[in-house]
Symmetry: C2
Subunit: 328 residues, 2 copies
């Protein structure tokens, strides 16, 4: 591979002159520019982008945090973000936090050491106070998750409304014994709010909830299998179950089918997201406008990078839609 | 944000001395080192990683090409690659080619301009001759796809064997009229080889194939819907269909179900990959060892970056497994 020295030798000029041409230094004659450019072409020499990035103090790279990319909700978010970023000349670095606090903190170094221009968080495991000190190194945008204490823009959905919508639908179908299956209700604001919306719908209808009908830390198809097992072993079983993910809902539906139960006669199930899976398994679900969330978050991020100004708190709240299918 | 000038001022030393401390220059006194380090800490100053990277000529970043991250086969590959890369101190840049030649070529600039140390290609749209000139800028490893002319390591599966295994299973179940539904059989070596294996199994059993039973450019659930529509309108319909993806197989199964057909009585369907979807929809499928392919490709890449030696052709071929379910 050709070096700057090779170019200097070929052009018959000093390394400093070559460097000046590359860096568009004002005091270089046209003749020297021509000689250097010609030598670079002949040697197939490309200036190292790190040098250019160093001068401009920009990496044109954005880190996106997701818990795991195999969750279709997050792969869909990332697909749209990557398309938007590519249009604007930015690359994405993929950071999988795997629902782990430490893993999430490790990736913050990317911003501190200026390997990325900004961070988009689609999930949050740590307290916001862990992120706060990193804001001096570059913009952070929150997307999907949200935090009351985060002084940055958040593009998210009113999850209270979303779970209220789904739960109200179950109540309207005549179910009075309704189970609840969701993620981490302790650290995730999304999970906390979904629980509020769920309980609100129940409360309005004067419906009681049993502690044994709550199933926590459910994220995957496998978790759905496990939730069905617990549910099926109860003496007093729920007639319907609200879930926070189509994958969990699909796992419950499949386990129920394998156990000889009928859906929705023996158990009604509602998912969340409207992933392709939900259509395939005929699951009623609460649709989130993923394309819109992803695009808005990426636009806010690129604007922040280009404006080089600190971001302030801003909320972009988008609506949900109920998709009715045969599972309820 | 503090600059190197601020550090120099605080430490009461010259900018050059500060720079020497940061760059671990040998001729700096311990006292000066202490003053600079203390000033950096007080000002929360972090040296720009671009400068360090520039000196070391490494970015600790690897670009991974996928057609689209929402395809569960590719999101699974990327999930495992990212985990492996993180363990070794590397980040991944996600490049979605969207099955487009131009998009694929655009991302090659990342290697040329040294924004990444190497490229892993999980799909190939262009002729290998388009990639060849970029090998002088860094290592390229091919994973899942393969090319006869690529003088680089390829970690892949013998797709002739995979489709032979699946087709033979359909023949053993007694089907003699078998359709074939796959991706791009013109540029993709994977698709070409799958077709060879399919035809080989048919040929051995003395079974004839009809041109109208071939369905090309099918990748998604939607493509499965479209394939079923075409298939259902034929006068002479196949009894079974071999597909190159669980998503396509799931689309056909759902469309068949919605049209009142029984699976496998009216149409038997076999998928490819063994995605979670296949288990949920009870689809027989040909399993690919995704974790192993992803880990081996990432290990070869990191070795190549660290050895700083050009890679030579090498093939790592892994086995398939047939997963029998109720769809055949």
């Amino acid at each position: 591979m050709a070096t700057i020295q090779d170019v200097a030798k070929k052009a018959g000029l000093s390394r400093t002159t070559v460097s000046r041409v590359i860096n568009e230094h004002p005091y270089v004659t046209e003749e020297k520019k021509r000689l250097v450019t010609q030598a670079m072409q002949e040697l197939n020499y490309v200036p190292n982008s790190s040098a250019r990035r160093l001068r401009r103090q920009q990496t044109e790279t954005i880190a996106v945090y997701v818990p795991r990319i195999t969750n279709p909700f997050f792969s869909h978010l990332v697909e749209v973000m990557e398309k938007e970023a590519a249009k604007k000349g930015y690359q994405l670095i993929l950071c999988q936090t795997r629902y782990k606090k430490e893993q999430e903190r490790n990736f913050l170094e990317l911003l501190k050491t200026k390997q990325v221009d900004g961070l988009i968080l689609t999930s949050i495991e740590n307290d916001w106070s862990e992120f706060e000190p990193y804001l001096s190194f570059g913009p952070i945008v929150v997307c999907n998750e949200y935090s009351d204490s985060a002084q940055v823009p958040s593009v998210y959905l009113n999850q209270i409304e979303g779970s209220y919508l789904g739960t109200k639908h179950l109540i309207d179908q005549g179910y009075t014994k309704i189970g609840y299956c969701t993620g981490n209700h302790k650290s995730s604001r999304v999970s906390k709010d979904r629980k509020i919306g769920f309980l609100q719908a129940l409360d309005e209808a004067g419906i009681m909830m049993k502690e044994e009908w709550f199933f926590y830390n459910a994220y995957s198809v496998q978790d759905g299998f496990a939730a069905f097992k617990k549910l099926s072993e109860l003496d007093d079983k729920p007639q319907a179950v609200f879930t926070g993910s189509d994958e969990v809902a699909a796992g419950i539906a499949k386990a129920a089918f394998d156990a000889g139960w009928k859906v929705p006669e023996d158990i009604a199930i509602i998912g969340f997201d409207n992933q392709p899976l939900a259509a395939l398994m005929d699951l009623t679900t609460v649709e989130q406008p993923i394309d819109t969330i992803a695009k808005q978050a990426m636009n806010l991020m690129v604007e922040a990078i280009q404006a080089k100004k600190p971001l302030s708190r801003k909320e972009v709240i988008l609506p949900f839609q109920l998709i009715k299918r045969s599972s309820t």
